[in-house]
C-alpha cells in the first residue's frame, strides 16, 4: 500500500473549523431541538397517563395521603429542572445540579413505594415512580443517554424488587407490579434508542454530504488534507528561513535548526512530488470519519480520476452502504483496487477502469438493494462470493468526454518511475 494510506491512518483528518462547527450544530440544534421537544411531549403523555391511574387508584389507598406525596415531590423536581433549564437557556445545566436532580428522583420513588407497600394485593401499584422513569426521556434528549437510561433501569429494578418482596400476599397481582416496573423503563429505553439512532444517522449523513464534495473535484485535485499540510509546511519553511535571513539563527546552523530544516525539506519535497496520483476517492476516504479506518484504497495509477461524476457518486455511495452494513469490529478493512488494464505508452486516455471491492464482515443477503443500484451506476458488476468475504468486480467504462481534463488525468494515470 502506498505511503499516503498509512499517513491517513496516523493523522486523522480534521475538518475546517467552520464545517465542523456547522456539523455539530445540526446534531445539537436543528434536528436535536425538535427531537427534544417531541420526546418531551411523549414523556408528558406517559406522565399524564400515570397521573390518571393515580387518580383512579387514590380511593383504594387505605390511609394517609395516598399517592400525592410522591406526586408532589416529583412535581417539585420537575419545576426545579424546567425553571433552571429556562434560566440557563444557552448553557447546559451545571453538572452538580443535574446530578442533584437525578438523585432527587429517589424521593418520589421512595415515597411512592412506601405508600403502596403491602397493598399490591388490592391492585394498588406505584404511579409516580413509573412517571419518574418517563421524566428521564427529555433528559436523555438534552444530555447524554447513558446516565438517564441507567437511572430508569435502577427505578425499574426498585419497582420489580418491591413487587417480588410482596409476592407472598399479592399472589397473582405480582404480575401487575412487574408490568408497572417495565413501564418505568420502556419509554426511556425507546427514547434512548430513538435519540442514539437519530444522532448516528445525522452523523453519518452529514459525513457523507461533506465527503461528497470530493466527487466533483478535478482528477488531480490535491485534497483538503494535503492542501492544509502544504500550507503548514510552507509556513514552517517561511518561519525558519525568516529566522535565518534576519540573523535570529546563527550560521553555521546549530544542530537542532539544521535538523528542522532537513525535516521540513524532506516533507515538503515528498508533499510536492507524491500525491499526484491521489484522487477524489483517496481524499474522500481520508476525510471521512466513517470510511477512513474501514476502507483502504489501492489506486497507484490514479484511475479513480477517470470516472465520471455519476460513477464517482455511485462508487462512493456503494462503499458507504457497504461500510454501514459491517458488523461491529471486523479485522479487515474493505479493500478497493482500481486499475486501468489497457495502459500503455501511446498517449491515449484509457477507456476501461477495473474496480475490485473486497468486502469483509458483511452478510451478503442483508445488503441494502440500494448498494447494487449504486454499483450498477458505476459499471457492469460480477459478484464473487468466498468463505469469509465477497468481491464485487466492476468493469467501468470511463467517460473520457466528460472527464474534466483528460490530459491531467493522463498525467495522473502515468506514475513516475514506471
Amino acid at each position: 500500500m502506498s505511503a499516503t494510506t498509512t499517513r491517513a491512518g496516523q493523522q486523522p483528518f480534521r475538518r475546517p473549523s467552520r464545517s465542523a462547527l456547522a456539523a455539530g450544530d445540526v446534531r445539537e440544534r436543528h434536528g436535536g431541538r425538535r427531537l427534544a421537544t417531541g420526546v418531551t411531549i411523549t414523556a408528558a403523555i406517559v406522565i399524564a397517563a400515570d397521573l390518571l391511574r393515580a387518580m383512579m387508584m387514590a380511593p383504594f389507598y387505605p390511609v394517609g395521603v395516598g399517592p400525592w406525596a410522591a406526586w408532589l415531590s416529583l412535581a417539585a423536581i420537575l419545576c426545579v429542572g424546567v425553571v433552571s433549564r429556562l434560566v440557563s437557556r444557552a448553557n447546559p445545566l451545571p453538572d452538580w445540579l443535574y446530578v442533584l436532580l437525578l438523585v432527587a428522583l429517589a424521593v418520589p420513588v421512595w415515597l411512592d413505594v412506601t405508600a403502596t407497600w403491602g397493598y399490591l394485593d388490592r391492585g394498588v401499584t406505584p404511579t409516580a415512580a413509573a412517571a419518574a422513569g418517563a421524566v428521564l426521556m427529555p433528559v436523555a434528549a438534552i444530555r447524554g443517554t447513558k446516565v438517564p437510561l441507567a437511572v430508569a433501569c435502577a427505578i425499574g429494578v426498585v419497582l420489580a424488587t418491591s413487587a417480588f418482596l410482596q409476592a407472598g400476599e399479592a399472589g397473582e397481582y405480582i404480575v401487575v407490579g412487574l408490568a408497572v416496573a417495565v413501564s418505568a423503563v420502556l419509554p426511556t429505553l425507546l427514547a434512548v434508542v430513538a435519540i442514539n439512532g437519530f444522532r448516528s444517522l445525522v452523523g453519518r449523513e452529514l459525513d457523507l454530504s461533506l465527503v461528497q464534495s470530493t466527487v466533483s473535484t478535478a482528477p488531480s485535485a490535491v485534497g483538503m488534507q494535503a492542501s492544509e499540510e502544504l500550507a503548514k509546511l510552507d509556513f514552517d519553511a517561511e518561519t525558519l528561513l525568516d529566522d535565518v535571513g534576519s540573523g535570529r539563527i546563527a550560521i553555521p546552523l546549530p544542530t537542532a535548526a539544521a535538523e528542522r530544516a532537513a525535516a521540513v525539506a524532506a516533507r515538503l519535497r515528498a508533499r510536492l512530488i507524491e500525491g499526484r496520483t491521489d484522487t477524489w476517492l483517496k481524499h474522500a476516504v481520508t476525510e471521512s470519519a466513517y470510511l477512513s479506518n474501514r476502507v483502504v484504497v489501492d489506486d497507484a495509477e490514479g484511475a479513480a480520476g477517470l470516472l465520471s461524476q455519476q460513477q464517482r457518486d455511485g462508487l462512493l455511495l456503494a462503499l458507504w452502504l457497504l461500510v454501514g452494513e459491517r458488523r461491529k469490529a471486523p479485522a479487515e478493512p474493505i479493500a478497493v483496487r482500481l486499475r486501468c488494464p489497457a495502459i500503455d505508452d501511446d498517449h491515449t486516455t484509457p477507456h476501461v477502469v477495473d474496480i475490485e471491492i473486497e468486502v469483509f464482515g458483511v452478510v451478503l443477503r442483508r445488503l441494502d438493494p440500494a448498494t447494487w443500484e449504486a454499483v450498477d451506476s458505476v459499471g457492469r458488476h460480477v459478484l464473487v462470493a468466498e468463505a469469509e468475504s465477497f468481491r464485487i468486480e466492476i468493469e467501468c467504462q470511463a467517460n473520457t468526454a466528460s472527464s474534466a481534463s483528460a490530459t491531467v488525468a493522463r498525467d495522473a494515470a502515468n506514475p513516475r518511475g514506471s
Partner: protein, 385 residues
C-alpha cells in the same frame, strides 16, 4: 425515495420492533403463568400471542401495511379471547392491557410517518380501543387498561412524529452544510493549486533548506542569509496572496510558455551564483514547452546543479540546452570529482525522486555519465508536445 428517509424508516422499524416484541413477549409470559387459563383457551391465547410476535417481527423486517394490519388484527383477536373469558384475573388483565397498549401500537411507529399515515393509525387505534371499550362496558370495567391503551398509541405515534420532524429538519440543514463545505473545498483547492503551481519557488526554497540542513557549510554567510531572507519574503507573499512584482511572478506561476524560459534560467543561475557556483549557459534560450514539462525540467536541472555544488568540488558548471523535433535535452556538465555511478544506489531519494521522478511524470528521462576524477555529465530529456 431519498436515502435519509430509508434510514429513518430503518430506525423506526427498530423502535417498533423493540416496542412490539416487548409487548408480545410480555403477553405470552402472562398467559403461560400456570393456573390462569386452561384447555382450549390456553391454546388460543398462547397461539395468538406467538402470532402477534411473529407479525411484529415480519412487519419490522420490511415494513408495509398488510403486516401492520396483521399485528392489529391478531392483537384485537387476542384481546377479544382474553376479554370474553369468564374470570378476568389480574394476570389476564395485564396480558390484555399489554397487548392493547404495547404490542398493537408498535405499528403506529412505522405507519404514522407514511402518506396518510396518521389517519391509518387513527383507524387502527380505534379498532383496538373499540374492542377494549366493548369488553369494559360489557364485563369488567377496566379504566386502567383504557387509559394505557390511549397512552400507548399516543406515545408510539408522537415519538415517531418527533423523530420524523427532527430528521426532516436535520436533513435540510445537512444539505446546507454540504454546500457550504463544497465552497470551502473549492477555496482550499484553489489555494493548494496556487502553492503547487509555485514550483520554481518551491525549488529554490528546497535548495535553501537543504543548505541549511547541512548547517550552511560551504556557503558565504551573507549570501545564505540573503537567500533565506528572499525565500521567506516570497513564501510570505504566497501566503498573503499579495500582488506580485514581475520577477517573482515568474517564480510563482510560470504561465506564459514562451518567454519564460530565459527568465527562469536566469533565476536559477542567480540562485547558484549567490551560493558560489557559476553556471554557464549555452544553447537555446527560448523553448515552447507545456508548463508541466518546463517545471519538471527546471526542477530536475536545479537538483543536478545542487549536486554539483555540493559534491563536485568545483565552482563552475555548464548547462547546454538543445532540441530537435521531438525532444528537449539539457546537459549539466562539471569538471569535478566525478563518481562511479554503479556505487551510488539508484534508490537514493535525492536523485531518484527529485530528478528521475520529476522527469518521468512528464514522460522524460535522465542519464548519468561519470567516472572518478573526470567530472560528471547528466543528460536530462523531456519530450516536446
Amino acid at each position: 425515495m431519498k436515502r435519509i428517509q430509508k434510514e429513518r424508516d430503518r430506525l423506526l422499524r427498530k423502535l417498533a420492533r423493540i416496542y412490539g416484541l416487548t409487548g408480545a413477549v410480555g403477553a405470552l409470559l402472562c398467559v403461560i403463568v400456570p393456573g390462569t387459563t386452561t384447555g382450549i383457551q390456553f391454546a388460543a391465547v398462547t397461539l395468538l400471542s406467538v402470532a402477534a410476535g411473529a407479525f411484529v417481527f415480519l412487519h419490522t423486517e420490511r415494513g408495509g401495511v398488510p403486516t401492520a394490519v396483521g399485528v392489529v388484527a391478531v392483537s384485537a383477536a387476542l384481546i377479544g379471547v382474553i376479554g370474553t373469558s369468564s374470570a378476568l384475573d389480574p394476570v389476564l388483565l395485564t396480558a390484555l392491557g399489554v397487548t392493547a397498549s404495547v404490542t398493537a401500537p408498535s405499528v403506529a411507529i412505522t405507519l404514522v410517518v407514511r402518506h396518510r399515515g396518521p389517519s391509518l393509525v387513527f383507524a387502527l387505534a380505534s379498532v383496538i380501543l373499540a374492542t377494549v371499550v366493548i369488553i369494559a362496558v360489557t364485563g369488567d370495567p377496566m379504566p386502567a387498561v383504557v387509559i394505557s391503551t390511549i397512552a400507548g398509541w399516543a406515545v408510539a405515534a408522537s415519538l415517531a412524529l418527533a423523530l420524523n420532524a427532527a430528521i426532516a429538519s436535520a436533513s435540510a440543514r445537512i444539505d446546507e452544510v454540504g454546500r457550504a463545505h463544497q465552497a470551502e473545498r473549492l477555496a482550499s483547492e484553489l489555494e493548494a493549486r496556487q502553492r503547487q503551481d509555485a514550483r520554481v519557488l518551491h525549488d529554490t526554497v528546497l535548495a535553501t533548506l537543504s543548505l541549511l540542513a547541512h548547517s550552511g557549510v560551504g556557503v558565504g554567510v551573507g549570501a545564505l542569509r540573503q537567500q533565506a531572507g528572499d525565500d521567506a519574503r516570497l513564501l510570505k507573499q504566497l501566503r498573503l496572496g499579495a500582488p506580485l512584482d514581475k520577477t517573482s511572478d515568474a517564480i510563482f506561476s510560470p504561465e506564459a510558455e514562451e518567454d519564460i524560459l530565459g527568465t527562469t534560467f536566469e533565476s536559477v543561475r542567480q540562485r547558484f551564483a549567490r551560493m558560489g557556483l557559476d553556471v554557464n549557459w549555452h544553447g537555446a534560450g527560448q523553448l515552447t514547452l507545456p508548463r508541466d514539462t518546463l517545471d519538471a525540467l527546471l526542477g530536475a536541472l536545479g537538483e543536478c546543479l545542487e549536486n554539483v555544488r555540493r559534491h563536485s568540488g568545483v565552482n563552475e558548471a555548464d548547462v547546454t540546452v538543445t532540441d530537435d523535433e521531438r525532444t528537449v535535452r539539457a546537459m549539466v556538465t562539471d569538471a569535478g570529482n566525478g563518481f562511479e555511478p554503479e556505487t551510488v544506489s539508484r534508490g537514493r531519494l535525492g536523485y531518484s525522486e527529485s530528478v528521475v521522478g520529476r522527469l518521468s511524470t512528464v514522460g522524460g528521462r535522465a542519464r548519468v555519465f561519470s567516472s572518478p576524477g573526470s567530472g560528471t555529465t547528466v543528460m536530462l530529456e523531456v519530450p516536446k508536445p
